[in-house]
């Protein structure tokens, strides 16, 4: 522990020195690196989980959703929770990249690409997991041939597709100057990768006109992605809030979901930047100062989310309407109370308590808090879906006993873990192919600071 602190002090010192890093040094530091031993183990591990998930999905395609433990009452299970989780995480791309850029915040530059990679990976798996949840996925095209605009699902299809393309572009445009740099290192990249870089980015010459055009495009994307990001998660919350059920019938849902989404998204960026910093020795670029600043934002977001939670639960609990009392008691003191209090305490209250202190905003405690936030958020999404479905208006009667409770089957767990591993795999691969920290922007910003 002491060693770590010393190391971090040195890192801090180095961060101050980073001002003077030469351009070539920056490039050498930030070029994508081949997987080391741990990188290979990590990738293999993710691949194995993905393969298991794919096998489980094959079984689901063959036998139907009967391989899950969803039944007529709990007709949505952890697939939908996981979908909400992915949509939530993907929102961070818009926060770190767009909101900060438009607000002229510069310290976040080294984090933008990490955030965008997470956003793209999450939105891809949000789309996939919603197809996994469909009972007849072979009829997916019906959404386009017979789509009805009055259904919130169609709204979701439209905005998620839009968000996906904007996110891809927001990842791609700022990459172009870096690809120009990458193209200089054919030896290092290897033939296949070099060809790939050449294919996607050789048109970029780095002329002032191109920079001007790209800046303009990125600005437009940053402005558009904010309302789209708000819409994707609001619409996702409306999948629940447009129904009558206790726990879903809430006008608070849109704002509540968005607050939660920004929290889990920033939590995931904290985890990712800690891991990348350690794995690729980026202490000069992702400094303690970044953790410090992001820590303050996470505290703010956690407080905001806690506020919406109080709104969401305190007012109905005060009234204890007959239709809602069984549901609310189930959360506060019944079957779901361990998960409920876990999500509130681990996912919100403890992070706030840790991060309000300066010592709590050091990299390692931040990393732990990030994990707490992300894990708490996943279980929070579980609580949003399942308990409500187990408390319908009419009694759960004339059905087999298995219909009256829900615990996911191994196929559901495998597919869910497979999708989480898949998202991590995409992030891992993107980090292998592209610089995790924007090279060109780092150089430009350093020149501006030195001036």
């Amino acid at each position: 522990m002491e060693n770590l602190l010393v190391n971090e002090k040195i890192a801090d010192q180095e961060a101050t020195d980073a001002m003077a890093i030469a351009d070539e040094q920056i490039i050498a530091d930030l070029l994508p690196q081949k997987f080391g031993k741990w990188g290979k183990i990590w990738t293999g591990f993710l691949l194995a989980i993905c393969l298991l998930g794919m096998y489980a999905y094959y079984r689901q395609l063959r036998y139907g959703l009967i391989v899950t433990n969803m039944k007529d009452y709990v007709s949505w299970g952890i697939y939908i929770s996981n979908f909400v989780f992915f949509v939530a995480i993907s929102l961070v791309g818009s926060l770190i990249t767009a909101v900060f850029r438009l607000a002229n915040v510069h310290w976040s530059t080294p984090l933008t690409r990490i955030a965008e990679m997470i956003a793209v990976a999450a939105i891809i798996f949000a789309s996939l997991i919603i197809i996994v949840d469909m009972g007849s996925p072979e009829r997916f095209y019906n959404l386009f041939t017979h789509g009805r605009i009055q259904s919130p699902i169609i709204w979701d299809v439209i905005v998620i597709t839009t968000y996906f393309f904007i996110s891809i572009l927001l990842l791609f445009y700022p990459l172009l100057p870096d690809i120009k740099i990458l193209l200089r290192f054919k030896e290092r990249s290897g033939n296949a990768l070099h060809k790939f870089y050449n294919y996607i980015g050789s048109f970029w010459k780095g002329t002032p006109e191109q920079f001007k055009l790209s800046d303009k495009a990125i600005n437009i994307l940053c402005i558009t992605i904010i309302p789209v990001a708000f819409t994707i998660h609001t619409v996702t919350s409306w999948l629940f809030a447009t129904t009558y059920r206790p726990g879903w019938d809430s006008t608070n849902f849109g704002a509540y979901f968005i607050a939660g989404a920004f929290l889990v998204g920033s939590g995931s960026v904290v985890v990712a930047m800690y891991v990348f910093r350690k794995a690729y020795h980026l202490e000069k670029y992702i400094t303690e100062n970044h953790f410090e600043k992001l820590g303050r934002i996470v505290v703010l977001l956690a407080l905001l989310y806690l506020y919406f939670n109080v709104n969401e639960f305190l007012t109905p609990a005060f009234k204890m309407k007959e239709s809602e009392s069984a549901y609310l008691n189930g959360l506060f003191s019944g079957n779901f109370s361990p998960v409920f209090w876990f999500a509130i305490i681990i996912g919100m209250i403890l992070p706030i308590l840790i991060l309000v202190f300066k010592k709590g905003r050091k990299p390692l405690p931040m990393f732990i808090v990030g994990i707490m936030v992300v894990v708490g958020a996943w279980f929070k999404r579980y609580l949003i879906v399942t308990p409500t479905l187990l408390h319908p208006f009419l009694p759960m009667h004339d059905v087999p006993a298995s219909y009256r409770h829900y615990f996911p089957s191994w196929e559901e767990w495998a597919i869910t873990c497979g999708s989480l591993a898949g998202a991590l795999l995409i992030i891992t691969i993107l980090a292998r192919i592209f610089p995790i920290i924007p090279i060109q922007e780092t150089i430009t910003e350093q020149h501006e600071t030195v001036k």
């Binding site: 009967i66 007709s75 009972g135 009694p395 009667h397």
Partner: protein, 308 residues
């Protein structure tokens, strides 16, 4: 003038009868397909009532049994029967949880074993109020939340008030199940265990047969029966006359044995609908469990079979 009218009628009749004859010769062909074959007159005349209400004479040789109605097309099934507005009245004072309605329904729709479209719930509104049995079907709401949320128009509301499902279009997203406050919808999680010949039939939204893997199912008010002017299976199966079914436009409902003026029944017995506050406007009305025919306890034994 009279002459002309007559000859036109004759022509129409001949055409119809000839079509029937073709159907008789080649049973595999569509009986309504055009194409005339001469039939030899036998000389024996039969008196018939024409569609205009006039008595006419037709040669016996032209008489053929009318073939069964062809299955309705998807478009017709989606439109419904013009001029009708189907309603159901469930008299809670008559129910003793026999579940004959349920078994008749399950049989008629070839439901997957264990699946029930009709559920009979033991209800007790508050601690000290009397318990009663409450059968629930699909409410065929006039403001159906399920139809509102369906992304592909697989579940739809017809002009005669019936809400049906097109299982050939349903994508299995189950949003309708989440939206329905009456929890009436069921899902075919796996391949339904139904006879192979039933499973091989083309799907009809009016019969809801065959149920298909990965799609939603629910009570269809037996739209095929109502098209034939017959009562839904639950109505005719109930020996206690719990269910009455009919047309709101005719202001009449029947349980098979008794026929009631709908408005009188609802007024005299203080009929109501479930969860009126949600604004779903169900087509199913309930009569309160007063002056009951059976004690609540008489239904308990039967309830244990499915609710352990």
């Amino acid at each position: 003038m009279e002459q002309e009218n007559n000859s036109r009628r004759d022509f129409l009749l001949t055409g119809l009868v000839a079509a029937g004859l073709v159907a008789g010769c080649t049973p595999n062909k569509d009986p309504f397909e055009a194409g005339a074959v001469e039939a030899k007159a036998s000389g024996k005349k039969v008196k018939l009532l024409s569609v205009d209400g006039e008595v006419i004479e037709v040669d016996e040789a032209f008489l053929k049994p009318v073939p069964h109605m062809p299955p309705v097309s998807n478009t017709e099934a989606r439109l419904g029967i013009p001029g009708k507005k189907f309603v159901m009245v469930i008299d809670l004072s008559r129910c003793k949880n026999l579940k004959k309605c349920q078994s008749a329904c399950n049989h008629a729709h070839d439901l997957n074993p264990g699946e029930n479209w009709i559920k009979v719930d033991p209800m007790q509104n508050a601690d000290h109020t009397a318990p009663y049995w409450e059968p629930t079907t699909c409410m065929h709401c006039d403001e159906p939340p399920c139809v509102k949320v369906c992304p592909v128009d697989a579940t739809f509301k017809r002009q005669d008030g019936i809400v049906l499902i097109d299982s050939d279009r349903c994508i299995g997203c189950r949003f309708c199940m989440a939206a329905c406050p009456y929890s009436t919808r069921v899902f075919n999680w796996g391949e339904p265990e139904i006879p192979a010949d039933v499973a091989a039939q083309p799907y009809s939204a009016e019969t809801s047969i065959p149920q298909k893997k990965g799609t939603v199912g629910k009570c269809d008010f037996c739209a095929d029966m109502t098209r034939m002017g017959m009562l839904p299976h639950c109505v005719s199966a109930c020996p206690n006359g719990v269910y009455a079914f009919g047309d709101l436009n005719e202001d009449s409902v029947t349980n098979g044995a008794e026929t009631f003026r709908f408005s009188d029944l609802i007024r005299d017995k203080a009929g109501y609908r479930l969860m009126e506050d949600l604004g779903t406007k169900p087509s199913v009305y309930y009569l309160p469990p007063v002056s009951r025919n059976f004690p609540f306890e008489s239904g308990l034994e039967n309830d244990k079979l499915q609710n352990k």
